[in-house]
């Protein structure tokens, strides 16, 4: 079986600045894959390339063996890839419940329907409520999402991302700006809701990365300098020099 995500010679330039310089990466199905690297290494840019937010300068990206070249973000989403954003991206004027339900609509085949009344879609509403319960947001169910606390909004964002049941999940710094206890809860949540799925996560918190990931890829200045299991990444000389070393110092 092919890889869930497969990158070959991916580059991306903005004007004359090359942000991503020839990245090759394979993520098999079901793997929890973390991407780390110093600020400005191009992690978020890579995310934006994989999810179709930016177009490639050169190279190919395949999801489940299918090239995503020229596809719009919503088309890539329909191939079974869902992502979260580094800067919280929710529907602020809709309630928590509506947010989650919007995450479900396309996946459950409602498309652009204006003939279904959402109030009567029992299975859909129950599914949304179940997810809200898993997110521990049930007593905020009818609150406009824009009024939630930061950590609640991050949880909601993860919820919207996984709601549709996409097979490949991209999370961009899901625990950024959280307190220690909030982070712990978020990690448990992410682990639970991405069970059996392919996960690609960008994270700065090393305890999250080493606690969660099966494989870690280190990106420095737009290039992959190492990609291996956590234990060996910890021992890798180049990584320590380029990244962990400076971080620890």
């Amino acid at each position: 079986m092919s890889n869930a995500i497969s990158l070959r010679g991916v580059t991306k330039s903005f004007g004359r600045t090359e942000i991503i310089r020839g990245v090759d990466l394979d993520i098999p199905h079901g793997q929890r894959h973390a991407m780390i690297g110093p600020n400005g290494a191009g992690k978020t840019t890579l995310f934006n390339l994989i999810s179709g937010r930016f177009s490639l300068t050169s190279g190919t990206i395949e999801l489940n063996g299918r090239s995503i070249d020229g596809l719009a973000p919503h088309e890539i989403n329909r191939l079974g890839l869902s992502r979260s954003f580094q800067i919280t991206s929710i529907f602020p004027r809709l309630t928590v419940f509506e947010n989650i339900r919007c995450g479900l609509l396309w996946a459950r085949g409602y498309r652009y329907s204006f003939w279904h009344l959402l109030g009567g879609q029992r299975a859909l509403n129950e599914e949304a409520d179940r997810l809200i319960e898993r997110l521990n947001l049930e007593d905020r169910r009818n609150v406009p999402a824009g009024l939630l606390s930061y950590a609640e909004q991050r949880a909601l964002e993860v919820g919207i991302t996984v709601a549709g049941g996409a097979e490949i999940i991209l999370l961009d710094e899901p625990t950024a700006g959280m307190s220690h206890s909030e982070t712990e809860y978020a990690v448990a949540l992410i682990r639970a809701v991405t069970e059996g799925k392919t996960l690609l996560i960008v994270e700065h918190d090393m305890s999250v990365v080493f606690g969660l990931a099966d494989v870690i890829t280190v990106l420095v200045y737009g290039e992959v300098i190492a990609s291996d299991v956590p234990a060996r990444i910890r021992g890798d000389k180049a990584v320590q020099e380029a990244y962990l070393g400076t971080e620890a110092a």
């Binding site: 509506e98 905020r140 991050r154």
Partner: protein, 446 residues
């Protein structure tokens, strides 16, 4: 995820009330009350000595009905999908032209259609043009969308004067609603019968638009308005959402246009012109684009100002414009938003304490409004009205606008009222803040 319990509101009320006959009845009764009230209202103006309805009242109420459909359909784009259109009237007007041509064809015996279904033809016409123009306009959003719709609006308006065949040029297309075919055997020769038809179609259209907000498309329109990028990453093409929403809003605008053709029996260039588009925008914003019924409320205000005030002066658009600016600056939520702001205080059970502060700011407010209206009326009388040979009156008292007295009176009321208002506003704000703080403390904010 947060453990911060103090921030949490008490258990929210469940919005999706259990579907069932009891829930349905509870949701249906405001509609029934509204329809009955709409049907009773004209009898207030009934002339019992001649046994005739007041034509003026019926026309005005019909205008409110069809304009409310128009404003609500506009808000399907602006309020629901965040698409500010400056050319919405072209969908309304083109629907009207389609309806007028259809009625003429029926009258000539070329086709069969009961009068009751003519607004539907208008709606289909609106839908057709909604698809056509929507395809172009919804390629963009925000400011670019606003400008495209403005361009399309000007284009259609210019075409309306250029092509005689479909638009009838300056004279428009005249029609006759007494076409002799009716589902209920009604001739529609009296304005009361027409009014009943308007009420029926308004109820149908408003109900359908209300229901549309609760469909997947309606919800995703909200979602793309809030955050179109996130909408993309849950599988929706924001452009397609905008397009469907635009086309559907064209359908409802067309129904309004069809009713217009029936009520006035003529469809002219005015129905597609920029001023008509502006009316929808003004009504929706004054009433409040955020809530579903805001535009309805706004339409009532605008039509009342239009038909009530313009009898005396040509200045109704100025009043509407000023009201609009005041809303944009001080109450972006519109009238509905202002009412909604009182909800926490009402829930805290202290709304009564606002009565005195309200009287204290409304008094100087009334003064400055009086001064403003007086000045405007004087000015428009001197430049426009005087030529028509009318006399200027304040109440029953005739005043000569050539003397300084009325001008000074107006200026004094405007300025004095304004200063007094500033003084009182401080006290009002303090009271308001205190009550809001109390509501917050009681945990009834949401």
């Amino acid at each position: 995820m947060s453990a911060d319990a103090t921030q949490r509101a008490p258990q929210g009320r469940t919005l999706s009330a259990a579907p069932g006959s009891a829930g349905l009845a509870r949701r249906a009764w405001p509609w029934l009350v509204a329809i009955v009230a709409a049907l009773l209202l004209p009898w207030l103006f009934f002339d019992w000595s001649t046994h005739r309805h007041s034509g003026f009242a019926l026309t005005m109420l019909s205008e409110i009905g069809l304009m409310a459909i128009f404003a609500l359909s506009f808000n399907m784009q602006m309020g629901q999908a965040g698409l500010l259109s400056f050319g919405h009237a072209i969908l309304f007007g083109l629907g009207g032209y389609c309806a007028a041509h259809t009625m003429n064809a029926v009258k000539a015996g070329a086709m069969w259609l009961p009068v009751e279904l003519v607004p539907l033809v208008g709606g289909l016409g609106g839908l057709l043009f909604g698809v056509l123009f929507g395809y172009v306009a919804t390629k963009q959003r925000a400011t670019a969308f606003a400008m495209i719709t403005m361009g399309l609006g000007e284009l259609v308006a210019a075409c309306a004067l250029m092509f005689m065949g479909f638009f009838g040029g300056e004279g428009g297309i005249s029609t006759d609603r007494v076409i002799g075919i009716s589902l209920f055997g009604v001739s529609y020769s009296s304005s009361w019968q027409v009014y009943c038809l308007v009420v029926a179609w308004t109820a149908i259209a408003v109900l359908l638009m209300r229901l549309q907000t609760q469909t997947p498309l309606g919800r995703m329109a909200n979602a793309t308005r809030d955050n179109f990028e996130r909408a993309q990453f849950v599988g929706y093409d924001p452009r397609m959402v905008r397009f469907c929403q635009f086309a559907l809003s064209g359908f409802f605008a067309g129904i309004g246009g069809g009713l217009y053709a029936i009520v006035y029996e003529i469809v002219t260039f005015d129905t597609v012109a920029a001023a008509k588009s502006a009316t929808a925008l003004l009504a929706a914003y004054i009433g409040g684009a955020g809530g579903f019924f805001g535009p309805f409320l706004g339409t009532i205000v605008v039509v009342l100002l239009q038909s009530g005030v313009s009898l005396l002066s040509n200045a109704w658009l100025l009043y509407v414009g000023v009201l609009f600016i005041v809303m944009v600056m001080y109450a972006p939520g519109g009238l509905v938003g202002i009412i909604a702001q009182h909800a926490p205080i009402a829930r805290a059970g202290r709304l009564r304490e606002l009565i005195v502060p309200y009287v204290r700011i409304l008094l100087p407010g009334a003064f400055s409004v009086f001064g403003f209206v007086l000045l405007v009326e004087l000015a428009s009388f001197t430049t426009i009205g005087a030529a028509q040979g009318k006399a200027f009156k304040i109440g029953p008292q005739a005043v000569d606008p050539a003397t300084a007295f009325p001008w000074l009176l107006g200026a004094a009321a405007l300025i004095g009222g304004g200063l007094w208002l500033r003084l009182e506003a401080r006290g009002f704000r303090a009271r308001w803040d205190a009550l809001m703080a109390d509501a917050k403390a009681k945990g009834v904010m949401l």
